[in-house]
């Protein structure tokens, strides 16, 4: 069992990351290639959103999923950088690089989805529409991207880089992005399924939980899916605080998700009938029981909590479950047509198109390219 050394030069960091990079590039080529071919051939008309009412489809789900994961990862990194929790020092660098990877993957999808993304770059900051949550989101994400890049730049191939005071800002921005992202939906009084002051909190908990899942997964990936490969302090973090924190965040997510579903099922208010539809779908139960309740059990029981493979399983389940529930949330909120269509108003149907699935593949591929390249060449996995 070859121990990964703290200071291995780039050349000897191994085929491990190069293989990861190649695999990620392959994904990117498949997803991105298909998307770009479609966009050049047909335009963005291939994305399956329509004027009938589903305006934000899987692309926006993907974007928010990656963005919020990125923000969550920055928060996890802040536990050491800002709050000085030494326990989290072993994962802080990885989390920050993953945050950048997720951010790039998500924003790439957004740019491909938006009608005129380049206008957004100047028109948003110059027009100061402070009433719009999206204005703040764009602004915050912009500054976050720049500051995160600066922080990461300072770490490139500097395994001994210490806590960066800029991370106070990055963490704050990550927190704000999550809350504003929640507000984008939570403020929409005309969309009762989204509406509510708790949505930013829901997003906060989800992004933190998601970030922990990604931390778990990528830490295990780096260590060959074996706790035995971990350094002792890393191992104690994963078998101790992090696993417990993961369990608690899953529990909170379960409470909020199930709670909103129960409220939605009980209420007769127009717009909330979507919950009846959602709860009747197998996906809902796969997400709630298989991807939330099961990982919670795995992370609560002492026997499985500290088991590496169980942790990886739980993290994968949470990643998938989060994607499903984000999808159900964003699509579900739009399923009640607002003065569109005819006859007895049914819920609107929506099935992601091949192009939209390709966007997801593209995002996964691109994020992994960034991470794997950083790990291979920029010292993302060099012990700090």
């Amino acid at each position: 069992m070859a121990m990964m050394t703290d200071t291995s030069p780039a050349s000897v960091r191994g085929n491990h990351f190069l293989l990861h990079l190649i695999a990620a590039l392959a994904l990117l080529a498949i997803g991105g290639g298909y998307v770009l071919w479609e966009v050049f051939q047909f335009g963005k008309v291939q994305f399956n959103t329509t004027n009938a009412g589903i305006h934000w489809g899987l692309a926006i789900v993907t974007y928010d999923y990656f963005l919020l994961t990125s923000a969550g990862l920055a928060m996890v990194a802040s536990l050491w950088h800002v709050f000085g929790l030494e326990e989290f020092r072993p994962v802080a660098r990885r989390c920050l690089w993953l945050a950048m990877a997720g951010l790039i993957g998500g924003v790439a999808v957004l740019f491909l989805e938006l009608g005129n993304p380049w206008i957004a770059l100047w028109a948003t900051p110059l027009n100061m529409q402070m009433a719009s949550p999206l204005f703040w989101k764009v602004l915050l994400v912009g500054v976050y991207t720049i500051l995160l890049a600066i922080v990461l730049f300072g770490m490139i191939n500097k395994p001994d880089a210490g806590r960066n005071p800029l991370m106070m800002l990055v963490g704050l921005l990550a927190l704000a992005i999550t809350l504003v992202a929640g507000a984008v939906y939570g403020m929409m009084a005309m969309r009762p399924m989204w509406f509510g002051g708790e949505i930013p909190v829901v997003f906060l908990i989800e992004s933190f939980m998601g970030a922990l899942a990604f931390t778990v997964f990528f830490s295990h990936l780096k260590n060959g899916f074996s706790h035995g490969n971990m350094r002792p302090e890393t191992r104690s973090l994963f078998e101790g605080t992090l696993a417990r924190m993961f369990a608690i965040s899953i529990a909170l997510h379960f409470i909020l998700h199930a709670g909103r579903a129960v409220t939605g099922l009980w209420s007769n208010a127009e717009g909330l009938q979507v919950w009846e539809y959602l709860v009747a779908q197998p996906m809902f139960h796969i997400a709630l029981w298989g991807c939330v309740a099961l990982p919670f059990v795995l992370m609560v029981l002492p026997a499985t909590r500290s088991n590496g493979l169980m942790q990886v399983l739980a993290s994968l389940l949470v990643m998938v479950g989060l994607l499903i529930s984000r999808y159900e949330f964003i699509i579900g909120g739009q399923m009640v047509p607002l003065f569109k269509g005819t006859w007895a108003p049914d819920l609107l149907p929506y099935v992601p198109s091949t192009g939209e699935w390709a966007l997801l593949v593209l995002a996964v591929g691109l994020a992994n390219v960034v991470y794997a390249f950083a790990a291979w060449r920029l010292g993302a996995e060099d012990r700090g």
């Binding site: 100047w122 110059l126 027009n127 005819t342 006859w343």
Partner: protein, 849 residues
Amino acid sequence: MDEINTNVSRRRFLQATGVTGAAATVALTIPGTNPERGSAEAQTRRQPNTVVSKNICHQCPARCGIDVYTTDGRVHAIHGNPDHPIANGKLCPKGPLGIYILYDPDRWRGPMRRTNPQKGRDVDPGFVPISWDEALDMVADRLRNLREAGESHRFAMLSGRGWGTTDIGMMGQFGALYGTPNGNIGHSSMCSDGSMKARFFTDGNDSYNAHDYRNCNYLLMFGCGFLEAFRPYNYNMQMWGYMRGKKSPKTRVTAVDVHMNTTLAASDRALLIKPGTDGALALAIAHVILTEGLWEKSFVGDFADRINRFVTGETVTEAATPGPMEDPETGEMVTPEVEGEGFVPRWTHGLVDWWNIELKDRTPEWAAGITDIPAETIRTVALEFGSTRPAMAIFERGAHAHTNGVFNAMAIHALNGLVGAVFARGGMMYQMGPSYGPLPANLADYRDDYAENGPWRQQPRIDMQGHPDGYLLARNMQQEVGPNSLRGEPYKLDTLLFYQNNSIWTAPNGQVWEEALREIFVIDTSPFPSEAGHFADLILPDHSYLERYQDCGPMPLEGFAHAHLRVPAIDPIHDTKYFGDVLIEIGKRMGGRMAEYFEALESSENVLRHMARGFEANPGDNGVDGWDAWVEKGIWYRKPYMWQLRDGTFYEWDGIDYARPMDAEEVKQRLLRTPSGKFEFRSGRLEEHAEWIAGATGRDPATVMFPIWEEPVHPGGGDLYLSTPKVALHAEGRGSNIPMVIAHLQPTVGGRGEAFVEIHPETAAARGIRDLDMVRITSDVGSIEARCRVFAGTRPDTIVLPMEYGHWASGRWSNAVPGGHSGDCTVNQSDRVTGQCMYYSTKVRVAKA
């Protein structure tokens, strides 16, 4: 005529933009963020240089006057002509789409000749462009050869939406000079001849009615789609807004149909009737009106002793009318008062016989069993209709396109007789014609010997209209042209010209026409591709309606006379020619007297200029006194309607009021043009032909002259009635190829992107059909597919599929709409008496596709 520029206040404009500028936010003034707003041009908006020309909408027969807006050579808007008594500045949903029709990318670019001798739905005609000279010569040569062979009768021209003198009028003239009985076979039997004939048999007018909705207090509507398809649709809706929104008292409306549509939904009462039984409902209403004593006595007459003896099941007698006798005191000849219990008719004929033979047992309870409408409802409707004046019963094809249609229609129109609605204020009347000037040449002077006495004289019309072996009393029998020619009875056609007509698709069971047209030289004159065009050997494309001069005679409105003119908005955008000029140019190439006549006509515009001279002596209310003014206004009209029935007396307009009483002979000549000069519940014209009708139909010659109940017969071999209504956006053949129509079609029968077949939930469930499933509709003559809309507003025994889509050669959009054409499984069956094509009599089977 630059209407836009004249009224704009520039000052107001500058102010508005100036304030906008001052109030602009910081963000809006950042350089580069808003180049258009920041530019000097934006401060003083450029005014478009718009020309407005007059035209008449072409998308239904209503003749709405339209203002066509053209800017920089592009036609970009159509609005209702505000000075036009039909449009009144308004339009129906079809009107604005005319600008798309002009620029329809599927339009023919110029004359073309077929190169592929094979014909069929999936066969490429192989059209190649030719010059107009070649094309016209080809037709003239062909017709001349036919004439020289003594077979000129084998040339026929079929018209669809004809407009006036320079199109269908010219067809008739061409036929008369050329020598064919088939000069202009109209489509009226495939429209609503049953309605005209019912009026002809009862009040003597072979026409649709004009209506005085403005003063009507009760409308009883049978299968006429008043808010979807009834003409003039635009005007109807204007009247609807008035009757239902402004008028006091609000006009009450009961509507009868076989499915819930917007008309029924907007009415006070909606009755879903069993298809083909409208006559039974009308008879029961008549029964109640009589037994309750609600008939209009000043018009219908009354019992001599004024005691109502119309009692269910009991017969009545007509009073013996005593002859004039000498007054013993004065020695003058006088007509004594009728005494006793007999009925004394006034302006009606045959009520007593009708009651005794038919009506006395036609109770609401009887009708309930036939119509599916509860007896109590029928009684309520009858009491309302009978006790509200003025009231009108209006109807169209939904009621009479059935095997018993003539009787259904007569029974409904008889209600108008009973309540005295004909020629009354708030009732219905007939359309007066315009006073055109004479044509440049007199046709009779130019008929050569062949035209007068050629062998064609011995030949019947191809459709057997007017022939004892065919349809003796019908106006046209266009639906028979294809089948007759295919059978060779009475003969096979050689050459067939279509004008505004696509009966290969619109006729029921058009598959037969496809066979027939394979062996005929077909000329199509439509500006657009169509199924007829797909089978054509020669395409001579017309201008679109925004590119041509054309007269439009009146369609029934409020009775007063009107005459309309199309004025081109722009030069033709393709190498097309107005159909009237095509006929004139062919005529000029025919040689002999015929050519001389058409040389004398010169051109359709010249004909129109001559017609307009008639306005010089008789200027319109809008000052139109000749050609120039007609072009400027687009319409000549003169109000008022000349006659009115009031309290049992007919009056003629005397210049101030309806004040000059008319005698019985005048009424017979001008208004009630029946053999008796009365409104006939016992039809003299049907009685005259009772033996022929009995022979042709097997009916009882003793009762065929009355509005009677006859059980409808439903061919097709299925178990569900197939109803195929037209919808509001049905733009006469072109709606199906307009993407905006396909996107918008009213969803009670249509949908976004296609048309649905409506099926009742129980009917659907019994066949395992779910909402939005594709279903197969099958009859003995054919089978089509359509997407199902499960709809509780359709009768369980009926399916409803609009006649709109299912085209296969009418343009790229119509071809792409999913679903079949209702005509492909509609049986071609006609009323032997009226000639009406029975579009709604077929029964079909439905199964999941």
